[in-house]
Each structure stands twice: as C-alpha cells, then as structure tokens.
C-alpha cells in the first residue's frame, strides 16, 4: 500500500514537472487581468451601477480585463487594508478615507507621472487634490466629498446663527433647555451625537486661526489658538451639561435634525433628511464659528481611490481611476449613490436641480477646508480622546492638557519620522 502511494505521488509530480510552464507573456497577462477594486460601504444600487454600467464600459475599452469589486464595512477597514499592505497581496485599487494619505504614505504608489498629462485635474477642488497628496506626490484620485457644515433649525432657534465663539456661547445659552438635571433641548450636537469629537476639535483649532503644526514641524498644541478652541468647547459643554451628572438628550429616532430636540449640529449628508424633505425650508447651512483671530470654515472630508505600491499594473489601475473620475461618471455616481463629486464641472446639474446641494456647494467653496495633512492621525485621535476627556470632565486643567497634548504629539511625530 505504501509503495502504491509513493508511486502515485512520484507519477503526479513527474507529470507536473513535464507539463510546460503556464507562465503567460506580458501581453497575455493583460489579456487575463482581473482588476480588483476595494470600496467601503457601498449600497446595493451603487454595487449594481458598478457591475452593470461602469465595469462593462471599462472592460469594453480594455479587452481581456475583468473588473471585480470587493466591498466591506468601516468596522473591519483597518484590519483588511493593513493585511493587504503587510502581505503586498491585495486589490489593485483601495478606497481610503480623508486622513489616510499620511497613514500609508509611501506604501501608496506615486502617481505623478501617470497623471502628468491629464487635463481633468484642473476640474478637481484644490482641497481634494491636497487630500490625495503625500510628500508632494499624488497617491490617488479624489472620488467623493462630504462637506460637514453646521445645520441650524431656523424655525426653532432663538437668535442668529453665530459666526464667532462668543456668539456661539450666547446661542448655546439661549437654545438649551435643562430640566430636572436632564437635557430637553440642546443648542448643538456634534457628529458623534454628543458634545465632543476629535475631528471637530481640530476644526475649531483651525477656525480659531491656529494650526496643528509649527513651521519646524513640531506640534502647535501649546498655541493660544488651541487654548481658545479648548476653552470654547469646555464653556459650551458646561452650558449644555451644567455638571457631569446631567443626563443628555433622550434617544433620538430618525435624524437629529428632525427630532426638534437639537437646534444645530454638524452632520454628514447621509445623517440628515433627504434634500426633497420640506424640513429644508427651515434649515440654514452655515460654517463653524471662529475665534478672535480666525475665520469661519467648513470641514470637508474627501474619500478617494488609491493605488497601493505593490500594484502589479499601475498603468491599468490609473486608467480605471481616470475612467471612473470622468465628468459623466462623476454625475452618474452622484445620481446613483448620492456621492458629491469632487470635480466642479460635475456640479452644474446638481446646482440646477437641488437648492440644498446648491447652497451646500456654495458654502463649501467659500469656507471649505479639507481634513487632510493630519500626521500620524491614527495615533493622534486616541491622544485627543484621552486628554480632552480629562479636560472636559474637570479632571485636568487647560494648561496641563495643552502641555500633555504637545509633549505626546511631538513624541508621536518624532517616532513616525516627521521630526528630525
């Protein structure tokens, strides 16, 4: 029996050795190429558009190429992408969030030469191009943008939408109702359905006239502008939550904007009612309030398609990026998936047909600042959570918090090679 087994093994191995190698020539390789694209959080309609409309069109122009879409959620996004990058084995195109250019840096391919002659770049929002640029080189194509202004319920609010921190505090006092140590109405709510978020903190530093980095690249968390932003967030919290044992708002069913319990808030467009809803007659779209030496702004998040450094056929990947980023496809994606295009020549139809989007795009052009160039963002976020929690809940003074943020972030920047 053992001999029979060994004989069979030797026979199979000999046959495999004799069979000529199936390695394809470069031309044949392109013939059999499967272009894999990873996109996060797609709806069924969007998947259908990619599979039934976009891919067949691209495949028709590129005979022998098959497009395949891989999709997943934001929940397992980090693990999934880290796995591909580690093993240098994964899709040819990877969808990334706004702050990921600095996270993956040189692990993403430098696409300058591929896009050098592409005239369409001029149509892209400068903030969007900044987002996909790392170390001065383009790493991908901006696909969609999500402006996050402050939405105000003009029919419910007392006073005008504030444009300074001082006015915003007055607005908070006038529009907040606390009864029996529990909130009945809040003047403001942030994207995390509460009163603090790391991205919002960075937005207020910018609107106070500050920056995250000094000219020498060190952290600027010790600046007076950061202190002003922190003080504003603390004061606003104390108005809406007089003590840390004050209960927040009851659970909200539907969107916060419709609830009647929230007068204003920072929300992405997928967390507000459809723009055809009559509620929009009573909603104002405004930028974030500013500090004494700053200017109001709106934070803009850009999601983009990158080409990882391990990609075997970057030329083909870039061809797909140019194809999907064309004006026609940008408009089609807006219609199908509600994506806001990052190229301005795709806005005409949107602005003509949708007054809410029209207003949103106008204020975005006027006040927009991309959430980009956040160095070592993955490590900065937990640091902000940790230190701001201590400050906002009266466990640490403002000065100590600034000092800790500065010291720790400088250490992180140094560890990640941003400082000499």
């Amino acid at each position: 029996m053992k001999r029979v087994l060994i004989f069979a093994l030797v026979l199979v191995m000999s046959i495999l050795a004799v069979v000529p190698s199936a390695a394809p020539s470069p031309a044949e390789a392109r013939q059999d190429k499967v272009l894999e694209i990873y996109i996060t959080g797609l709806t069924e309609d969007t998947m259908a558009w990619f599979n039934d409309v976009a891919f067949p069109a691209f495949e028709a122009d590129h005979p022998g190429v098959t497009c395949e879409i891989l999709t997943g959620g934001w929940g397992d996004f980090d693990v999934t992408v880290a796995g591909w990058i580690t093993t240098s084995e994964g899709p040819d195109i990877i969808y990334l969030g706004s702050e990921y250019a600095a996270t993956y840096g040189d692990l993403l391919m430098d696409l300058d030469s591929y896009f050098a002659e592409w005239a369409d770049w001029e149509q892209y929002l400068p903030a969007a191009v900044d987002t996909v640029t790392y170390d001065g080189h383009i790493r991908g194509l901006p696909l969609l943008m999500s402006p996050r202004p402050i939405f105000y319920r003009s029919d419910l609010m007392v006073g005008e939408a504030p444009l300074t921190f001082a006015d915003a505090l007055e607005f908070a006092k006038a529009n907040t109702i606390i009864e029996d140590n529990a909130a009945k109405q809040w003047a403001f709510m942030d994207i995390g359905n509460d009163l603090f978020d790391a991205q919002e903190f960075i937005a207020y530093i910018w609107s106070a006239g500050g920056e995250l980095y000094n000219e020498d690249g060190t952290s600027a968390f010790d600046s007076p502008e950061v202190a002003e932003a922190m003080q504003y967030m603390y004061d606003r919290r104390r108005i809406m939550r007089p003590t840390e044992d004050t209960a927040g708002l009851p659970p909200i069913e539907g969107t916060a904007l419709e609830s009647g319990m929230v007068i204003s808030g920072i929300f992405p467009m997928w967390a507000v009612p459809a723009t055809s809803d009559p509620i929009w007659d009573n909603v104002a779209i405004e930028p974030y309030p500013a500090g004494e030496n700053g200017a109001p702004l709106i934070q803009v998040f850009i999601d983009w398609l990158s080409v990882p450094a391990y990609a075997q056929d970057p030329e083909l990947a870039v061809e797909f990026l140019k194809f999907i980023g064309s004006q026609d496809n940008a408009i089609a994606l807006k219609d199908v998936a509600g994506f806001t295009p990052t190229r301005q020549d795709a806005w005409e139809q949107i602005k003509a047909t949708d007054p809410v989007w029209s207003k949103l795009l106008d204020v975005t052009v006027e006040y927009g600042r991309a959430f980009s160039d956040i160095r070592a963002s993955a490590e900065l976020r937990p640091l902000i959570f940790e230190q701001m929690t201590l400050y906002l809940t009266d466990q640490q003074s403002l000065e100590d918090t600034q000092q800790m943020l500065k010291e720790e972030y400088d250490y992180i920047l140094e560890e990640n090679g941003y400082l000499d």
Binding site: N181, D245, A247, G248, L383, Q395, S397
Partner: protein, 654 residues
C-alpha cells in the same frame, strides 16, 4: 472568463492537495525514522508511519497557521516594527514600556489591563452568580420550564450581535432609556427603593471614581500601604482564630505563595526590563527561586523540578540579556556585578538538582538563600531607609501623619511618594510572616503563636494608620484644588462622586460617563450568561436527591443544604465557568468596539481592544505583538493558578 477563474482555483487546489499529501508522507517517514532509532519493531514502525501520515494534514496546518505565526509574533515583539518601515531589533523595550507604564503606550496599556481586570474580577463573579441563580430557578419542576430555558438561553445567541448591543445602548440611555425609566418609576412609588437607588448610585460612582483614579496613576500616598497590610491582616486574622489545623498551614502557605508570585512578577517586570539590569534583582530573583525550591522540596517533587528548570533557564536568559544590553566592557569590573550573582544562582540551583534531598543539603541551601537575602538588603535597604523613610513605620504604628507640606501641590504630587518606602517591602513582610507561620507549623507552637499575634498587631496598625493618613492626604489635595479654584488634580471623579448624596433627579449615566461605562458592560455580559446557566443546570441535575433528603432528615436548612451540598457537588461546573469566564473577560473586545464613545473609550478599552488598535489602526506591529504575549502570559498564569488551587475547593465524584 468565469471558467478561467474556476480553472485557476482548481489548479491551486490541486497544488495544495499535492503539497499536503507530500508533506504528510515526509512527516510519516520522519516519524518512522525516529521509531527506528528507538528500535521499535517493523510492525510498530509501520503503525507509526501510517499514524503520522494520516495525522499529517492537521500537523502541517498547525505548523503553518498556528506555530509559524506565533513564532513570528514572538520575534516581532522584540522589534520596533511599524508597517511599511524597516524592522529594528530593540530587545525588551516594548515589554519595558508596557509593563512599567512608560509614555503614552505604557499608560494606555496600564489603563486597559486595569479595565480587563475589572471585567475579570467583578464581571465574572457577577456573571457566574447570575448564571447560577437562573439555573436554580430553571431546575424547578414546573409547567413550561423548557420555554423558560429557551428564553433564558436566547441572549447567548443574540448578545454579541451589533443590533442587540445597539438596543442595549437605547435601553441604557441616561435620559428616557428603559432601565433608568423603570428605576425612576419604582423609586417614585416606594420611598425605601428611592433611598436604596440613590445609595446604589452613590456607592457605584464612589467606587468607580476611585478605581479611575488608580487607573490614571494618581498618587495614592499612604494608601498604597493599606492594601498589602489589609491582605496580611485578613490572612493572619484567619490564622489566629480557633485551634491550629492542617487547613491553616495550607492557608498560610498558599497565601505566601500567591503574594510571592505577584511580587515576583512585579520584580521581573521592573528588574529584568530595566537597562542595564540592576544586579540586586538577580540576587532577589535567585533568593525567591531557592526559597520556593526548598519549600517545595519535601512536598511536591515534580513541582520542585519545574522551578529548578525554570530558574536555570531564567539565569541563562538574564545572562544573555545582560550581555546583550550591557553598556559595560565584559572584561571591566562592572561585568562581575552581573556575572557573580548569575553564577551564584546557577551554582546553587545546580547543587539543588544534584543528589537526594538530605538534611545537610537543605540546611546548606537555606543558608545560601539567607545570604542572598542579606545581599539584597545590603544593596537596596540603604536607599529605601535613608532620609527618614523608616519613620513611616513608627508614624503609622502611632496613627501619626507623614505629610509635611499639606498646601504644596508639587510636594503632594511628586515629592511625597518619593520619600516613602516601596509597598513591595510590606508585601515582602507579609510573605515572610506567612512563610514563617507555615514552617513553624506544629513543630514550634509557641513561636508560631508569637509570630501570628505580633504580625497581626503590626499589620492591623499599619492598615489603620495608613488609612487614616490616606484620608489626610486626599483632603490635602482637595484643599489645594479649592484654594487654587481649579479642577481637582487628584482622584477628581471620586471627590466629585462623594461630595454630596445624590438627589432625586440623579440617574446612572450608563453609556455616557466614565463612572458607568464598565458597569454597563458587565450588565450586558450578565444578561448573556446563558451558557454558564446551561452548565450549572446540567450539574444541578446530577446532584443525587438522596443527599438532600438525608440532610433534610438531619434538620439542615435550605441555606445549609445549598452551601453544604449543592455548591460542593457542582464545584466542577463552577470551576469550568470561572476558568472560561476569566479568559473571556480578559479578551473582551466586540462590545467595547461597538459601545465606546470618544469620552468613554479609555474607560472601556480592554487589553484586547488596545492590542487591536495599536496593531491594526496605528500599525505598530511590534508593540501589538508584545501586548499579545503579555496577555498570553497573564491568562496562562491565572489559568495555571486556578488549576493549581482548584484542588482545595473542587470536588470530583471519583
């Protein structure tokens, strides 16, 4: 195109099958060759060949998918490996940072480990109590009991799901959530319940506020001596009561062992990860190892061998590490400070391995252990006792204060603790007392009684004295904060929680406050304790009715029957639930991932959650690997300890 893809997949499947078959046959041949070396008969060799060939696929899978990655992870744990960057060997740096809470990474790891211990030490007993209570209820012979069992088990299937966790988020909403609304209605209806409800809020917030203070690393001042002194007092109190028995000797011995193991861990973490290694830790480690070997020598031969081998491996490892990281020339005089203790420990342990255990050999090794102890005292004590540090003993014994500058924040925050001796000395004294009592046993009853009484008085006074001084210390911080008009600097949430008794409007802020986030998680875990319930139910079914009937005839009450019959009879099930629950608690992940908010992230984060964040979000592979190995070591140690000490409370029918 689809058929091409299918062909490609089939091709790979074929190669995989061939690889598995070939490697299995090679494995079979290897096993057969080894069998031949051991001179097994031809028939036996054939059996070995076929056995290993057929087990081959599993073994190959294990090597490739389990052992290989585990070894790679072990290697990475000694490196500074960030994804996409060069791998740099940094020795024990990752471990040192994490274990000694250095920098942000160490601080967060410390916080996460304390959160994990919270889940394990408070969550597991509560979960087991809930499971046992449900099992006892469902063990009744009533109509429709199967439907009730199904209902009680259903949360196990549903609990991990995001939808259910989000539903819990709604139920635990501080304002308008089902739990708080129900509690408020009850409180409004029954005034006694109202008082109890507010007392519950008060106690929970005070306890969690204090725990968060410890997690943050706020200075404990005199209170850091209270815990070792209190533990020692309790143990000695148990030894002092009633007649001396074998059980008490075991208690003294076990107490000394457990505290000794905890101190050893601390010493290893502090000593071995320090660069360069302090030679005093080598003497101390050697002394502890020798004492353990000698204490076990007459009782458990197998265990003593384990300790001997582990010590020798440690000596070699420490020598390697010392030479690897040493900033001294090997030929220089500094080298001897390391090599002498290593050689001495190695020689002593080697001597313990040679020959039989005789009285002269034991006596000689005890003398060597004593010598090691003296060397440690000589090298560490001057630093510990100078500048009046010894006076804390006299102060606490007379209920005096050790705080000299009550209004100076810098003094309270930094200088004050530096003036005091390390709490390890008190743990050490507790071990010495218990070990002394265990060794004196019935041989020297008078001396034993003197040691028990003396140590009991000493530790009781230290407990009361340090507690009183701790109160003064906390008060001083509060006074400074008030005078400065700034937020509390020290145990802020604790001070806030105990400042006043909650009024009628107060509710638990379950998911929105650091004070309540961990209890929320435990509450959800308790709800899904159906698996434990099933195991208890099976065990309860197996308890013979005759035992209860006999006890009833003898006049035993229901409580007596529960503690004297039910609990001992279901102890194997209890043991299983404790071990599995403890491991699961230390690996808590999904619920934290879903329930965290920016403000509660740190107060919820477990070791497993931090490990995930550091590895996959921040891409720090090396540090993540080190965290996972520390977690493995902790889980393994706790499990071994549970098995080791289960003999005294788990009863098997056989």
């Amino acid at each position: 195109m689809a058929s091409e893809a299918r062909g490609f997949t089939l091709e790979w499947a074929l190669y995989t099958v061939i690889f598995i078959v070939v490697s299995s046959v090679i494995l079979g041949y290897l096993a057969q060759s080894i069998a031949r070396v051991f001179k097994l008969s031809k028939a036996e060799q054939r059996k070995v060949f076929w056995g290993f060939t057929f087990a081959g696929p599993w073994i190959v899978g294990f090597l490739i998918f389990v052992l290989g990655p585990a070894l790679a992870s072990f290697y990475y744990s000694f490196t500074d490996y960030k994804l996409g960057e060069e791998i740099k060997w940094i020795g024990l740096d990752n471990y040192r940072r994490l274990l000694l809470s250095e920098g942000r990474q160490g601080r967060q790891f410390n916080t996460s480990m304390l959160n994990s211990f919270y889940y394990a030490l408070l969550g597991v007993p509560l979960q087991i109590s809930a499971a046992l209570a449900m099992a006892i209820l469902l063990n009744k012979d009533i109509r429709g009991i199967r439907i009730f069992r199904m209902i009680f088990y259903m949360p196990v299937i549903l609990a991990g799901g995001p939808a259910i966790l989000l539903a819990w988020r709604y139920m635990l909403a501080s304002n308008g959530g089902f739990v708080n609304e129900a509690m408020r209605k009850l409180a409004d209806t029954f005034f006694v319940f109202d008082y109890l409800y507010r007392l519950f809020i008060y106690l929970m917030e005070a306890f969690n506020g204090f725990y968060i203070g410890i997690m943050r690393g706020d200075p404990l001042g005199p209170l850091k001596y209270t815990m070792p002194a209190f533990i020692a007092t309790l143990l000695l109190l148990a030894l002092a009561r009633g007649e001396w028995s074998k059980g008490k000797r075991v208690l003294a011995w076990r107490g000394a062992q457990l505290i000794g193991i905890a101190i050893s861990f601390w010493l290893v973490a502090k000593g071995l990860t320090r660069q360069p290694i302090n030679p005093a830790w080598i003497w101390a480690g050697g002394g502890v190892a020798l004492a353990s070997i000698l204490a076990l020598a007459y009782h458990n031969r197998r265990e003593v061998l384990y300790v001997q081998i582990a010590t020798l491996i440690s000596v070699v490892a420490v020598a390697g590490l010392a030479l690897d990281h040493a900033d001294f020339e090997l030929a220089g005089s500094e080298a001897w400070r390391y090599l002498i203790p290593l050689a001495a420990v190695g020689a002593a342990v080697g001597a313990s391995l040679a020959g039989r255990w005789t009285r002269p050999k034991v006596a000689a090794l005890w003398a060597v252990t004593g010598l090691f102890g003296l060397i440690v005292l000589a090298s560490l004590a001057p630093d510990q006792f100078d500048r009046g540090r010894l006076e804390i003993l006299t102060r606490y014994l007379t209920f005096g204060s050790t705080i000299k500058h009550k209004a100076d924040l810098d003094y309270l925050q930094t200088t004050y603790p530096a003036w005091l001796a390390s709490a390890v000395w008190f743990y050490g004294l507790a071990v010495a007392s218990l070990l002394g009592v265990a060794l004196l046993d019935t041989h020297y009853p008078r001396a034993r009684r003197a040691v028990v009484t003396g140590a009991l008085v000493f530790f009781a006074l230290i407990t009361a004295g340090s507690l009183l001084d701790g109160w003064r210390y906390f008060d001083a911080f509060l006074d400074v904060a008030r005078a400065a008009g700034k937020p509390n600097y020290h145990f802020a949430l604790f001070h806030e929680a105990v400042a006043e008794f909650p009024d009628k409007t107060r509710v638990p802020l379950w998911m929105n406050s650091e004070l309540w986030s961990k209890p929320s998680l435990i509450l959800i875990t308790m709800w899904s304790s159906g698996t434990g319930m099933l195991i208890f139910l099976a065990a309860l079914k197996g308890v013979p009715r005759a035992l209860y009937e006999a006890a009833e005839v003898d006049g035993a009450s229901a409580i007596q029957r529960f503690f004297r019959i039910t609990l001992p009879m279901i102890s194997p099930a209890m043991f299983y639930n404790v071990v599995i629950g403890m491991i699961a608690a230390l690996q808590t992940f999904e619920s934290i991932y879903i329930l965290q908010t920016p403000l509660t992230r740190d107060s919820l984060s477990s070791a497993a959650f931090l490990l995930y964040s550091r590895t996959f979000t921040e891409l720090r592979i090396g540090e993540g690997a080190a965290m996972s190995w520390i977690l493995v070591a902790i889980i393994l140690t706790l499990t071994i300890l549970q098995f080791r000490y289960s003999r005294s409370w788990v009863h098997y029918e056989s």
